[in-house]
Each structure stands twice: as structure tokens, then as C-alpha cells.
């Protein structure tokens, strides 16, 4: 076991984790942040995506101990403290981009990371940004539309 300190969704956490414990298990089992899903467990489906220092990573491929000193954002950390959804989350609802919901936290976080870098992404950039996350339901079209909608709304807010 080892002691680590990391910032998760804006709050500093001191945790004791196992030497081979994965970040996805730490988030789900120790912290109850079950919005992060585990799909394949080998980094191919992207369902376990979280942002590590602002960058999308597969949390099944990161040791919990490697998060020491780093900043993690999960889907639970995206809405405002009063519960108001982030524009990306709201756009996913409005565009009908959610069916079973298993990929949604990862898709939303990938979209959020993309829109943190640019509010005018091309469709190609959107497709690339979500290319590491599998969706078995939607056929992706509504997800792409949701991200375009979120970008459009966020451009309006930023003006």
C-alpha cells in the first residue's frame, strides 16, 4: 500500500492505494465515483476515460499510485456545484446523444477536453476526439451533433 495525494474534481484527496491498484478501481471502489465505467479493461473501449491534468486517458491503464500529485476530472466533477449541467452535458441531452449511457461519461469528457482547446472544432477534429471511445447504440451521429451544439453554445457564452 502507498499514500498518495491527488486533486479529484477540484478537491484534494489523501488516499492509501494498493501497489497494483488501477485508477479506475480507486475512483469507483474507494471514492464511489461510479460515473467512470469499466468496459474492456484493456484500453480499447474508452469507457473508463477520465481527464488527467486535462488530457483524456483510459483509467484502466493508469496505476492509482501514478495519479499521485496529479489532477483528475471525472464526469461527476463537470456540473456546477449547484447541479447545473455543463453545456456539453446539456447538449448531449438536447441532441439525443444518449441511449444506454455507458459510453456517455467518456464521450462527454472527450468532448469537454476538445472544447477546452478550441471552440471551433472541425467535424474531423470531433471525430478524432471521440475515436477512442466506443458507442454501441447511437451510431455516433447524434454525439457529433451534440458536440457541435455544445461548441456553438459555448461560443455564444464566451462572447
Amino acid at each position: 500500500m502507498m499514500d498518495i495525494r491527488c486533486e479529484i474534481n477540484g478537491r484534494v484527496h489523501d488516499l492509501t492505494v494498493g501497489a497494483s491498484e488501477r485508477l479506475v478501481d480507486m475512483l469507483r471502489d474507494r471514492l464511489g465515483l461510479a460515473g467512470t465505467k469499466e468496459g474492456c479493461g484493456i484500453g480499447e473501449c474508452g469507457a473508463c476515460t477520465v481527464l488527467l491534468d486535462g488530457t483524456p486517458v483510459a483509467s484502466c491503464l493508469v496505476l492509482a499510485a501514478q495519479a499521485d500529485g496529479h489532477r483528475i476530472l471525472t464526469i461527476e466533477g463537470l456540473a456546477a456545484p449547484d447541479g447545473t449541467l455543463h453545456p456539453v452535458q446539456q447538449a448531449f441531452i438536447d441532441a439525443g446523444a444518449i441511449q444506454c449511457g455507458f459510453c456517455t461519461p467518456a464521450m462527454v469528457l472527450c468532448a469537454y477536453a476538445l472544447l477546452s482547446n478550441t471552440l471551433e472544432p472541425s467535424e474531423r477534429e470531433i471525430r478524432t476526439a471521440i475515436s477512442g471511445t466506443l458507442c454501441r447504440c447511437t451510431g455516433y451521429v447524434q454525439i457529433i451533433e451534440a458536440i457541435e451544439l455544445a461548441a456553438q453554445r459555448m461560443r455564444q457564452y464566451s462572447q
Partner: protein, 290 residues
């Protein structure tokens, strides 16, 4: 899993020291994109501790341009290689290969050092690194060795002593001439899929003649190889004299010689020929216009 300890090291010397003490019991990890699935599947049952190299990113995670040599630290991620302005300008073939690795999530964590060390048959960056005459620097307690990429691959199972040494630098000579390259890959889908086959073609042109040619095939054989026959065929020819299909045929011939006929070759051989034809056509087409 038998891993009892996790250790982050403060310096390369510390890492080498720990490695020299724990040897086979130590598992080195950086991005973890290859190590983590293997760890879970029980591949590292004999390992007792993890040594995390990621705190060494300040020293081993930089891209440095020194005179006519580019130094890429082994902890540099594929995402950074894709975005680096010097690599994009002078070694675009490497940026292309890194862009084909896994998915954004994998490229944000996975390192070029990991791609070289784990050396899957389908390791994407190894294909251009072979074409680019990359040199690898390995450190151990009390010494370093510098190995050309080609020799590293040819050493087979003995190529790397994971219980004793750490990859510390990838050196790539930068071109000073009209050089064009192309990396192409085929996988079952575009993202997060292993290469079924990949090719790299790199040519230098002077006065409309090919003065240097590198032709590499990846994923078809136990590890990527240069296609010497194809390189000799292209050398010295004028751009218009090269038959791209011939280059593809020579690449296919090498694969069959190395591995023998395989059932999958009914599909792979015509496809690798076509992939090679496209790469050669594009590379020479670009240079023909120049």
C-alpha cells in the same frame, strides 16, 4: 497479482540502482498502456515491484534538437510527437506513425520508449524509426550503450535486458536534403486497432534521381524489416523509372521468405503490395512535383 511495492524514482541513477538490486523482480512502467493489460492478465507473475519512470519526464521526456540530430526522450508520448513542430517538419513520417497508434487516450499516455521496448510485431513507430536510421541509447549502472535500431531488432530475444538497463534516448539524424516519406497502415478499424500491416517509404532525390531509398514493412513479420531488394531496385533510378508495383512485390517476397507461407497471406500479400504501391506513388509523386 504479486506486485507488493510501487516506487517512484527521483533520478535515472536511482532507477538504475533500484533495477540493479531488484532485477527480474522489478517491472518498469511509464505510460502503462502495454504494461497494464499484461499485468492484469498475469504475464508478470514473477514481478514484485513496480518502478514508475514517469517522474523522470523532466529528463527523459524532452524533444531536443542539437545540430543535425534530434533527441527524443523515451518518455515522450505519441501525442507530443504528433504535435512537435520539428518532427512535423523534418520527420513527418514519424508523426504519421505516432498518429496511427491506438486512440487519443492511448496516445496521451503511451510513450515512444514503450513502443520500442515492448516491440510488438505491430509497433507502429518502429517502422519509421528503422527507415530513419534511429539510434537507441541504453543506460545501466556504470555505462551506456548505443545501438542502431536495425541491430537492436536483429538481436532478437536477447536485444534488451529489462532487468538491467533503461532506454534513455532515441537519436535520429535530421535530413539536409529533399527527402520525402510516407507511413501507411491497415488495421481492422481506424482507432484502437493493432496494425495488420504497415509500410514506410523514405526517399531522397537529387537531380530527379533517387539517391537514397528506405523501404520498411511492419506487422507482417515477427518484427519490422527493411526490404533491401526494394531499396536497391529504387536506388539511382529516375523518379519515372520506378514501378511502384515492383517495390510492393519485393516487399511481399521478403515477408514470404521470412515467415514462410501463412494462411492469412492469401489476403495479406496482395494488400501489402497495394499498400506499398500507394506509399511509393505518393512519395515519388510529391518529389516529382518539387
Amino acid at each position: 497479482m504479486a506486485i507488493q511495492r510501487f516506487m517512484q524514482v527521483g533520478s535515472l541513477d536511482d532507477a538504475l540502482q533500484e533495477l540493479s538490486v531488484h532485477k527480474e523482480q522489478a517491472l518498469l512502467i511509464a505510460g502503462g498502456t502495454d504494461v497494464m493489460p499484461a499485468l492484469r492478465s498475469g504475464l508478470y507473475a514473477q514481478k514484485q515491484m513496480v518502478i514508475d519512470l514517469s517522474p523522470l519526464a523532466g529528463k527523459l521526456g524532452n524533444i531536443r534538437h542539437e545540430e543535425d540530430m534530434l533527441h527524443i526522450g523515451p518518455l515522450v508520448t505519441h501525442s507530443r510527437i504528433m504535435e512537435d513542430p520539428v518532427i512535423r517538419e523534418f520527420l513527418p513520417i514519424l508523426a504519421q506513425a505516432s498518429a496511427h497508434v491506438g486512440s487519443p487516450q492511448i496516445r496521451n499516455r503511451g510513450t515512444i520508449g514503450g513502443n520500442i521496448i515492448t516491440l510488438a510485431a505491430c509497433a507502429d513507430t518502429v517502422v519509421p524509426l528503422l527507415a530513419l536510421d534511429a539510434q537507441l541509447v541504453f543506460a545501466r549502472v556504470g555505462g551506456v550503450r548505443c545501438v542502431p535500431m536495425a541491430s537492436y531488432l536483429d538481436e532478437g530475444e536477447t536485444r534488451f535486458d529489462a532487468s538491467n538497463e533503461i532506454l534513455t534516448d532515441i537519436m535520429i539524424p535530421l535530413p539536409n536534403s529533399n527527402r520525402q516519406g510516407m507511413f501507411l497502415k491497415i488495421a481492422r478499424r481506424q482507432a484502437a486497432a493493432k496494425s495488420r500491416m504497415s509500410v514506410a517509404v523514405l526517399t531522397t532525390i537529387a537531380g530527379h534521381r533517387i539517391t537514397d531509398a528506405r523501404v520498411v514493412v511492419g506487422a507482417l513479420m515477427p518484427w519490422p524489416r527493411r526490404v533491401g531488394e526494394a531499396e536497391r531496385y529504387m536506388m539511382g533510378k529516375a523518379i519515372g523509372e520506378v514501378d511502384p508495383m515492383k517495390v510492393g512485390a519485393l516487399a511481399a517476397e521478403l515477408a514470404i521468405t521470412v515467415t514462410g507461407q501463412r494462411r492469412s497471406f492469401a489476403y495479406k500479400i496482395p494488400v501489402v503490395q497495394e499498400l506499398m504501391r500507394r506509399a511509393v506513388t505518393r512519395v515519388l509523386g510529391t518529389q516529382g512535383e518539387a
